[in-house]
């Protein structure tokens, strides 16, 4: 166990009837104190099952889980998100509340939807309406449209207003544009219809889980509430600011019943505001605690980075923050903020890779202590970096949780193998798809040899793979016998599978991965990313299997057929939100900046790419929803103006960039090119802010 400061010890060892509100910025050791508290509770003989640890995302509970495991080995702690808690309770008390909650089949079990399965149903409801002119005046990809309607339902549940008020809240009082008014009307009618459909079919998306839980289970005197109060006597809530207001409401009611509580609040965070998180609402809880303690000392940053973070915050928020105690001097900035100006984007990438090479190979820095961050990480950018770093023999892990699963080459490879193994489904891969599949599935197979092989062994007409031996000796030699041997193993496995009874798609994928692809000599062997993606796909299929029964009967398709059909339609796997697990230790992390922030693991060196980009502060414009207008802070009917937009942008940028600095120990390299990937000139506000800091820096001795 790492050594704790006295402040952290005070928190950890507070009495068993204390209620503490602990706040501080990132890097001040709040979570470490929380973990120590958890260990202390266990040490004091509190039973693990009586402790509730609430986190905004399950992955953020991992440090707690590890600590408990290290200490007690066997004890299980409940790490829950508010959604997880709601779901568990609805599941448990379903027979008692199904009817009063309006479900049409109270005697049948509930079906819980994930975001993507909810999208699947939303698509079924909305798609037929397109023909009738619904959503005519907006032009966005349909999967984005579905997800925004679902988002509105989630916001209603999380903020705590009836879902029938979505349109009324989104629509400013002075709206004159009939086109826009129609859009809000369409959003409302689709949301209503989706809700009715869910009630009729026992489907519970996130919003309905939350609403049913709060309205029917979390009421005074209900069995459920009594159970929860009895069960959990101690709680630790981390990242309180990242939770939705109804979660805060519930905690306010619950707090008096806990023996002890530690509520941890990250100042200046609220990174999930676009998902409904409400830091202001969270602060209400401080008054219900016995103590309100603030941590101010950073365990991560040195004094130079501290001055820099304060200056950055001050500049970005245009004076709305405290001025820095000290402006960082030029010679300090030269150490903690190296940058080089490039006109073109690829030159900037080369510079980044070269600097990383020097850090790793010349200075012996562990690649795991380096994170390359961009506000938006395109495939091309990710690939270009990975390829360049791999050329320098530096291992890389990338993480993009909101990535479209269906666009991952690994997923395409798996789907094509599934098609080959189930020719009866009626999908035949093209020769090019087989080439690309082989390139990935067979270890160390390049494009040229993969194409040679595919051309000689694959018949597009019948979808069959021929034996390696059947091709000419010359081609065998060119492809190499080693590749041939691996190919044969894959082919034989498929052949054996096809000779037996068809499995469900998720089982098929699981065996394929375990028995072939992850084995030595195959493409996914020791490939962390491929393994993770395969797991995500299997999970996605599994969840689809759980909910799709009735529909499969209706469509007369098998699970695999319907799943692949939906993937190709862009409905399923279009927005798979997987959560991360711990990344590999010895590799450079390439991730979107927000993802890194939420991961909450500091590194020694960060590289910020595209600092001229406006993506560092501009929100994603979603024409069918609005995170701020739907929040509790927003007065009904008020128009969202440019001042609001600017304020929001400034706050977002401050949260993001200062949050990143606070998770950096040594230096931040700035990747700067005048023209972005698309050849557009970019001079965004982050670049201006950094320039201001550089200009203000006292010029001392260099």
């Amino acid at each position: 166990m790492t050594e704790l400061s006295s402040g952290q010890l005070d928190i950890a060892e507070a009495s068993l009837d204390s209620k503490v509100f602990l706040q501080g910025v990132a890097g001040t050791g709040k979570t470490a104190a929380g973990i120590a508290r958890l260990q202390y509770l266990l040490d004091q003989g509190v039973q693990a099952e009586n402790i509730l640890v609430l986190v905004p995302q399950r992955a953020l509970g991992l440090p707690y889980a590890q600590a408990v495991q290290e200490q007690s080995g066997t004890q299980m702690i409940d790490f829950l998100t508010i959604g997880g808690l709601a779901r568990r309770m609805v599941d448990l008390y379903w027979p008692l509340i199904a009817e009063e909650a309006g479900f049409a089949q109270p005697n049948e079990p509930p079906i819980f939807l994930t975001l993507e399965t909810a999208q699947y149903y939303m698509a079924r409801i909305v798609e037929p309406k397109f023909e009738h002119g619904v959503f005519e005046s907006v032009s966005i990809p349909s999967y984005r449209l579905y997800s925004q309607v679902i988002d509105n339902l989630d916001k209603a549940a999380g903020v705590g207003f009836p879902h029938t008020e979505i349109a009324a809240r989104l629509r400013p009082a002075d709206l004159e544009d009939p086109g826009k008014a129609r859009v809000f009307y369409d959003v409302q009618s689709c949301a209503n219809e989706f809700r009715e459909y869910c009630l009729a079919h026992n489907l519970l998306d996130f919003s309905l889980q939350l609403e049913v839980f709060l309205e029917h289970l979390w009421s005074p005197g209900t069995l459920c509430q009594e159970y929860l109060i009895r069960q959990y006597t101690h709680t630790i809530v981390d990242n309180l600011e990242e939770k939705v207001p109804v979660a805060h409401d519930m905690l306010l009611e619950w707090l008096p019943s806990f023996s002890s509580a530690l509520l941890i609040y990250d100042q200046e965070a609220g990174n999930r505001r676009f998902l409904g998180a409400d830091p202001d609402s969270a602060l209400r809880l401080s008054e219900s605690c016995h103590e309100d303690i603030e941590f101010t000392e950073s365990f991560v940053m040195g004094s130079e980075l501290t001055s820099f973070s304060e200056s950055l915050r001050y500049i970005v928020l245009q004076g709305e923050a405290h001025p820095p105690k000290k402006w960082p001097a030029m010679h300090e900035l030269e150490t903690i903020l190296p940058y080089q100006h490039h006109v073109y984007f690829p030159a900037m990438l080369d510079w980044v890779v070269n600097e990383i090479r020097m850090l790793v190979h010349d200075q012996g820095v562990s690649p795991g202590e380096i994170a390359v961050l961009a506000p938006y990480l395109s495939d091309s950018l990710r690939y270009s970096l990975v390829e360049r770093l791999n050329n320098q023999e530096i291992s890389v892990s990338t993480h993009r949780p909101s990535r479209s699963l269906s666009e991952e080459p690994v997923i395409e490879c798996l789907i094509n193998l599934a098609k080959l193994a189930h020719l009866g489904w009626g999908y035949k891969p093209t020769r090019q798809e087989i080439t690309f599949m082989l390139m990935q599935a067979v270890g160390e197979l390049d494009l040229v040899r993969a194409q040679l092989l595919a051309e000689h062994v694959y018949g597009e007409r019948d979808g069959a793979l021929e034996a390696f031996e059947s091709i000419s000796a010359e081609i065998q030699e060119r492809v190499t016998y080693q590749v041939g041997e691996r190919y044969e193993r894959l082919r034989n496995w498929l052949r054996d599978y096809m000779a037996t009874e068809e499995e469900e798609l998720d089982f098929f994928l699981s065996s394929l991965f375990g028995e072939v692809l992850s084995q030595p000599g195959f493409g996914f062997h020791e490939d962390y990313n491929a393994g993770q993606l395969t797991a995500n796909l299997i999970e996605s299929v599994q969840k689809f299997r759980w909910i799709a029964g009735d529909i499969l009967e209706e469509s007369e398709r098998t699970l695999g057929q319907e799943y692949i059909h939906m993937v190709e339609q862009g409905v399923i796997a279009a927005q798979y939100i997987g959560s991360w697990t711990t990344a590999q230790d010895e590799s450079v992390l390439i991730a979107p900046a927000y993802t890194f922030l939420m991961r909450n693991q500091p590194v020694d060196y960060q590289f910020w790419l595209n600092i001229g980009s406006t993506d560092w502060y501009q929100r994603l414009y979603q024409p069918l929803t609005h995170p701020e207008v739907l929040s509790r802070r927003w007065p009904e009917g008020r128009k969202w103006t440019m001042e609001d937009e600017e304020q929001y942008a400034r706050e977002s940028m401050a949260r993001l960039t200062v949050g990143l600095v606070r998770r950096c120990r040594k230096a931040i390299y700035l990747g700067l090119s005048e023209l972005n990937e698309a050849g557009y000139e970019m001079t965004g506000d982050l670049q201006k802010a950094l320039n201001s800091i550089l200009k203000r820096a006292p010029r001392g001795t260099l």
Partner: protein, 755 residues
Amino acid sequence: MMQDFKPRPKQAEILAYERGYMGIAAVPGSGKTWTLSRLAVEIIRSNLLADGQEVLIVTLVNSAVDNFSARIGEFIQGEQLMPKIGYRVRTLHGLAHDIVRRRPDLLNLDENFQIVDEPDSVGIVEDAARSWLRQHPNALDHYLIEDVYENEQKKENLYRSKIHEHVREVSWNFIQLAKDNGLSFGRLSQRLEEVRDSLPLAAMCIDIYGVYQRALEYRGAVDFSDLIRMADQALSLDESYLAYYRDLWPYILEDEAQDSSVMQERILEKLAGVGGNWVRVGDPNQAIFETFTTADPELLRNFIADKAGFQRELPNSGRSTEGIIRLANELIRWVMEEHPVEDARIALSPPPIEPTPPGDPQPNPPDDETYIYFDDQERSLGEELEFVANDAGAWIEAHPESTLAVLVPAAWIGQNLVEQLEARDLPYTDTLLKITYSTRKTVGAMTHVLNHLANPKDARRLANAYKAWRRDKQDDADTWPVIERIAKEIAKLPSVEDFVWPGPAMDALDGLLATLEDDDLSDELEEFRRIVRRWQGAVLLPVDQLILTIGQDLFRQASELALVHKVALDLRRSRIQNEEWSLNDTANELKMIATRKRRGNYTGFGEDDREFEPQKYAGKICVATMHKAKGLEWDRVHLVGVSNYDFPSGQPYDYYRSRRWFWRDELDLQAEAEAQLDNLLGRTDFDWKEEGEGTKDAEMEYVKERLRLFYVGITRAKKELVVTWNTGNRGDNRPAAAFTALRTYLESDQNDAAL
């Protein structure tokens, strides 16, 4: 070097500016770009800007954007720690894009809204026009000349061959004009209801406008005019939005303000606000982009006269000899005092050009180097071009260190001249004629790489990909043959994989080096192999990302990257529509674009936006249109085709390009449609334009614009000027009135002495 330059007194007056509205009338070669860049620097330096604020510089074309950026960057080098801080240079389109992009939701646009470029927009109007003509087959009959009107066969042929194209042209221009005036389809169609019958051309154009607009909405797209209209709309819709931009850009500097459109003036006026800071520089005598737009040099003249708190001039020019300056000034005088048509006399205006003062670091070339020749001999176009080719050829051979341009009134004449030059084996450059050149080249290079990826085991395709990768060396006489030789050897590789992905036993690179007998090429081949591996690995990415990844290795220029980005997005869309598409199909699609078989979505987009530098082409004959020559200068300039066809003067014998032989009464239907638009906009009966008036007005505007074009042509010359004319297709053209006037001037004894 620039930093040490001491401003002339007139420039210094401008650089002393601090705030308010300032209007500056400049003359050709007076250094207005330099002065404006310098002024931007003064503002940035003088701490007039708060953190995050920018000087906004608005100019006309992309090449000028780069030019401004480079100059300002050079001036403030070392003062700002990061590049491009404190200023932003944009064309009006770029500015509108910035404004709309910041809050697309305000305008009901999706985050990823598309912009339809001009050729695409023309294509959509063409479809709409075709379908309109099908539904209204005889709608334009009463505009036909009698001979056609009465002959069904002729009429039918004409509709098919000419009229449909003309309708497309008329309605496209009409739509753009309507948009430039902020007129939506809805508003126009509402007004049209009552007066439809009396305004048949406007009705036709508005119908087509409606179809066009629906097509754009269907694509989730806007065109360039929409972009500008929407920027204007956004600034009016939301006061806070306008306030945001006023705060961001407290100073607005506008170059080439003589070509400012009504919309540009409106947007900039809004952004500057009452009591704001707005500097407009331009030369009303060089306004040559007004036809079918709302641009008008009067806007700048009025601004200088009525709105500007400070009026300044930049009259000194060190570009030309005094002889050339006198000639240009004589043109201004003649137009103002003696032009045969009174209405045309406002085409040019003072200030006249003055030479630079003594001691100026940019002195005019010595006057004894002046050579001016107005050749009045009657020749056909072919003969004129022959004469020019011979004359220019002889001159450039005698002056290999000097620059020479032949400026033509239309690009096709330039192409004819190029044939003449080629036949004589004369050195020339036609870069300025070929606006789509770089588009084809960019897309072509990408096609070669995709072709390789579609069939990676084909050695010839790999060789082509290699040449595409090294194509920037094409003009390098030393390097290119080496590249050709390497490519030839790559094409012979028996198995590509042994070069790109060699196994432990065999590396084909060794064999290549042995054949090439040059070990120094090892690095080159290693580098290429590395790049090819990167491309091959990228084939697994979605097609747009693949294109962008390759693009990073192939292209550097902003225009090329922007084009690649557009191609990538379009291919992604095509791929979604054609799920089965292979890389081969994608490469074929690209090939169609490169060879322009696919309708010209891309022409103009990748327009070479690098600045043209005449000095780089010393010893070569530069062939360009007069329009494209704006802003440039050569030692000797030939002006071709200065007859009353391209430079009419409002005389009964003049002929106008805009007239089509098949319309009765020499009507210009474009102009008539515009006049009907004016009528529709509810002017009083007194203002109502009768048929024919629109044509007359448009012709007068054309007369004026062509006088300014002639002025622009003359002022391109530093020392020598040769002006010729031809009798045209019908053989009855005569020298332009201005030609004759200047020739007479030159012939007068007094001026002969001066020359």
